[in-house]
């Protein structure tokens, strides 16, 4: 099946599009930045990490599959996230999915590999800025200390009551959220941010 983005003239709408203005308002204080990155290309890849196909796929992408649990590997405009011992999420820019699917399938060369375009399955939300960790700590049980979960770390976990793929970057975090949960997570983030965006200095200690 041909990737819709390649041919369609119809208008796309991203899962958190309705939150753009509220995200912007919440980001005005400077301590926190909330935003959606819509329409990223996302390919779910399942392959035996020890198979020749896994290596060929890495070569084809120009990014070797990260084998250490909970890590990401990047190269060019691609980022490969470890999701499980034989599962990765390849994330690329808008429009890259059809080409990626083709490249990965080619690299698989008949071996047992699953390549599934899941670009619209999840959307990406940015939680960045000084208070990003504080906001996430309200709902994320992982230790987000920079020494523990710094740039290059990835985790599938839960934020409040929704499953997320949490990716740590140089400037804060990206949450890959199932599209149907995007509105819930957006509402939750905005609610969790109240203390951090209304106090001008970002100082929430009331005492």
């Amino acid at each position: 099946m041909v990737e819709p983005a390649a041919v369609s003239m119809a208008e796309r709408r991203s899962p958190a599009a309705a939150f753009a203005a509220r995200f912007e308002a919440a980001s005005a204080g400077g301590g926190l930045r909330l935003a959606e990155i819509p329409f990223l290309s996302q390919i779910n890849l399942r392959v035996d990490p020890k198979s020749p196909a896994a290596e060929r796929i890495g070569t084809a992408m120009g990014v070797p599959l990260p084998m250490e649990p909970g890590t990401a590997a990047g190269g060019g405009d691609l980022e490969v996230l470890w999701l499980g011992p034989d599962e990765w999420l390849v994330v690329g820019p808008d429009g890259a999915a059809p080409g990626l699917v083709e490249r990965l399938a080619e690299a698989a060369a008949g071996e047992h590999v699953s390549v599934v375009d899941v670009s619209a399955q999840r959307t990406a939300l940015v939680v960045a800025g000084e208070r990003a960790r504080d906001v996430l700590a309200h709902g994320c049980v992982l230790d987000l200390h920079p020494r523990v979960f710094g740039p290059g770390r990835v985790a599938q976990t839960t934020l409040a009551r929704a499953g997320v793929v949490l990716v740590a970057g140089e400037d804060g975090f990206r949450l890959l959220v199932r599209s149907s949960f995007a509105a819930y997570v957006a509402e939750w983030l905005l609610d969790a941010s109240v203390e951090y965006v209304t106090s001008p200095a970002g100082e929430a200690d009331p005492a």
Partner: protein
Amino acid sequence: MLLIPCPWCGPRDEAEFHYGGQAHVAYPEDPAALSDEEWARYLFFRDNPKGLFAERWSHTAGCRRWFNAVRDTATNEIHAVYRAGEPRPVIA
């Protein structure tokens, strides 16, 4: 809230996991060959020890892998985790 060491993701909170009951209960080779009693045993009867228990967990909110653990049901202490298909380790 137990801290369960997922063999892949490391220690994570219990709430990220799905419990799967007793480990090492294989689906019968040939269910049709079993008596009703034997089939009932497979369907409904599981060990329920007070003490060490080899049990299954799935890291559903994480890497979605099933694995096994040996836990003491009297103290909740997890003595070992191991991957599906591996033999139950001997706990002294």
